[in-house]
Amino acid sequence: MNHVFNRRAFVQAMLLGSAAPWVLRSPAFAASCDDRIVRVGGVAAPDSMNPFATWGAFWPLVFSYDFLVGVDAQRHQDRMGFAKSWSVADDNVTWTFKIWPGMKWSDGKPATARDAAFTYNYLRGSIGKPDELNVGWNNTSGLENVTSITAPDDETLEIVTKMPTRWPIDNYIMMVPEHIWKDVSYADARGTFQNKPPLVGTGPMIVAEFLQGQFVRLTPNQYFRAGQPPSAGMIFHLFNTADPIAQGLKSGDLDYGMYLTAAQWADLSKDATIVVGQNRVEQRNYLAFNTASEKGAGSTKALQDPAFRDAIGYAIDQNAIVDRALRGHADPGVGLVMPVATDYYSDLSDIKRHFNLEEAARRLDTAGYRDTNGDGIREDKEGKSFQLELVTGTMANLIEIPTAVVQLIAGWLGQIGIPVSVTQLDSGALNSRTAPPAYGGGGWDLLVAGTWLSPSAHDVLGLGNSADRQNNRAYWKNDEFDALLSKVDRTADLGKSQELVEQAVRLIYTEAPYIILCYPFVLDAHRKDCFVGWGTQDILSMWSYFPLDRLKSI
């Protein structure tokens, strides 16, 4: 009898135990606002907390480290980086930055101009060595144009460049403390050094715990220069799809979620306790042609012909892509510059291609790509029927490109007699497939992908830069464009820089190695019940820790 009773109790306990997680997750037990911890969910996969070793840890490192100036400080008066103010001398090469007086690292040690100088010189010292620091978010790109970086005193940083350039304020290198990093060798910094939490930074929220693939816990920085943030900390939940984010927002488990899909966003916008937002960002989604002519070339020589690419441009309806595939959550694509880069944006209205399949067909005929054997499929100049392979996939750290975009493009091209087959790849395979032919890539015809770089002139033009292995996926090389770009790199004056960018953008638009499809928005949402202080233009900045420094619980 006793024996039977024990077994029953055991089974009951087991059943209760298995039900516990379910009960705890139900709304009744959902996270309340009492603990004043901000819960954020995003599609992100940081693999290390070392900004020199990985590109993938922007979230959450941006909450813990400052940029010297960066994007947000130039756009918003109330958001600042490591520097309080900056100026450039008349020679256009000597930049002086004033660092916040009395600033401290999160471990209480003083944070001065010497730390900033150390960060830059640490990177610069690795240039040309076998362990050059060029594999992560903090990398040497741009530092080759620098003559010297010095800290005359604790509050002044001086950067002298070899030629006029806006790099000193446009760069997004995260400032790290000298007393932590001075003993780390380059080989370790680029590889094995994990930079274990708790981190030491100047941002408002300090990474205190990191569990890969699950969450990052951050605690408020009591030494933050604007005073300790009012919230009690933050938990950044890492997901690989947007489904749990939308569910978490609905149930109250999350205060903020980013990278929602259009369907989820529409569904959440009906919820009275949730505010949805859409945020213009620097991402561009494009259709690239494989313009390589020798190794790694595509299936037909037509891809190397600007007239062919131009004709295809008339068969792509950017407005339909925005309306049907992205449901209005994007700006239709025109040129290389995204609307959010207001300094350089232009709508190119005088040379813009307008969607017209007949025009596209006519231009293909004129360019010599006719359907001579009457089977409905055009032939290239060698007499071979077109059959283009389009590769696509989701790249890491980007807003996902909906499959419908690819379906639409394949449909339109099919209608003008150019059949397209589609290969979807994961981000690693896509990267190696579209790497430069010298690095084993190539062999594809069309690519639908995206990039998300800073709005600086150099980055905006990166798609056409023949020296940019990472971004120039069309393998396009044009001497005139490269010359314009190198002039841009040597220009600090904004007006002159705008002129040069405009010329370069028009050149690449007519040559059409890329058809820009759209500039998608980040879709996000926050709950109203626990915190105030969220942004209005952007709920959460995509370039800094705003508004984690000022979120207050209700």
Binding site: T241, A242, D243, P244, I245, A246, Q247, K250, L260, T261, A262, A263, Q264, A266, D267, R324, A325, R327, Q387, E389, G393, E400, P402, T403, A404, V406, Q407, L408, A410, G411, W412, Q415, S421, V422, T423, Q424, L425, D426, A429
Partner: protein
């Protein structure tokens, strides 16, 4: 002369088939499975007559993720295509993949199993070690690894019989990864059959090995192959659905798995669009379930304990 040794005389054979069908159709599972399967075969045979041509992102007219209504019986997807239209066209693709993959898997499995059991010795050892490899390796994982490689080699361009070439990649992969357990069963059955006297007689009159295998052993293996074939189909549908769900399918040719994948990527589950996830899911479930039911019924009917050994 040798034919008459194992084959039934014509009338006896008809009777045997009748007896088999009578017994098979009495099985409740077989009835359900057959009805379900015939329904989906009809649907797959004439999608254009039932729902019109395949809708694409370009010619879609519906609203975005509209719930089921009179106009769209199963609602619409994230670009406004009718889900019913996609499901019906997807049936053709899913069933084609499953059936062709099964044929490949049965041909390979029977050949390997029969050769292995009949010849014995080092042939048996080597063939069975290869089979073991495919047997211990979960076929889905293997398919996951092989698919990108085969895609790279074969490419995706062109059409065969109105289907995109990429479809045949999936078919080949599933076929190549699911034959091992057929080979095992066929081998064990071959081992027992080859000891029977009629095989000795055939050998004595001078039949070649190939002719003995094809004419005398193979007919006696049909029950096992048929019963297992039905189970392989169920597995093939499952693998196809999973592979496409993971994005290895062709987004331009919607199979049920591709639809599930698209629904998941569009966030249908958390946006409350149950029809978009549910419809292809239920279809895949029903077809594989009916194949399992038929397979089990065949197995029961052919059960040696109820069957007179010829």
């Amino acid at each position: 002369m040798t034919e008459n040794i194992v084959k039934y005389p014509p009338r006896g054979r008809t009777r045997a088939v009748k007896r088999f069908l009578g017994q098979f159709l009495r099985d409740r599972g077989a009835q359900v499975g057959l009805v379900c399967l015939v329904f989906f075969l009809i649907v797959a045979a004439m999608p254009n007559m039932l729902v019109g041509p395949l809708q694409t992102a370009i010619n879609a007219t519906g609203d975005f993720l509209a719930p089921p209504s009179g106009q769209h019986l199963l609602g619409t997807d994230e670009v406004g295509r009718d889900v019913l239209n996609l499901i019906v066209h997807g049936a053709r693709i899913s069933l084609t993949i499953a059936l062709l993959a099964t044929v490949i898997s049965l041909v390979v499995g029977s050949t390997v199993g029969m050769a292995s059991g009949y010849f014995g010795g080092w042939v048996d050892t080597w063939l069975m070690r290869i089979t073991d490899f495919f047997f211990v390796m979960p076929s889905f994982v293997l398919a996951l690894i092989i698919t990108p490689v085969v895609l790279e080699v074969m490419g995706r361009s062109g059409y065969i019989l109105g289907f995109r070439l990429s479809l045949f990649v999936i078919i080949t992969v599933i076929g190549m990864t699911s034959w091992s357990f057929v080979a095992r069963i066929v081998r064990s059955q071959t081992l027992s059959i080859k000891e029977r006297t009629f095989i000795d007689r055939a050998r004595v009159v001078g039949s070649s090995n190939l002719s003995i295998m094809v004419r005398h052993i193979l007919p006696n293996l049909v029950p096992q192959i048929a019963a297992n074939g039905a189970l392989v189909v169920a597995g093939a549908i499952y693998i196809e659905t999973s592979l496409s769900f993971l994005g290895l399918g062709d987004p331009l040719q919607p199979s049920w798995g591709t639809l599930l994948s698209l629904a998941q990527r569009a966030g249908a589950a958390s946006a409350g669009a149950w029809w978009y996830l549910g419809a292809p899911g239920v279809c895949a479930l029903m077809v594989s379930l009916s194949f399992v039911l038929i397979g089990n019924a065949l197995d029961d009917t052919f059960n040696p304990r109820r069957r007179a050994i010829p």
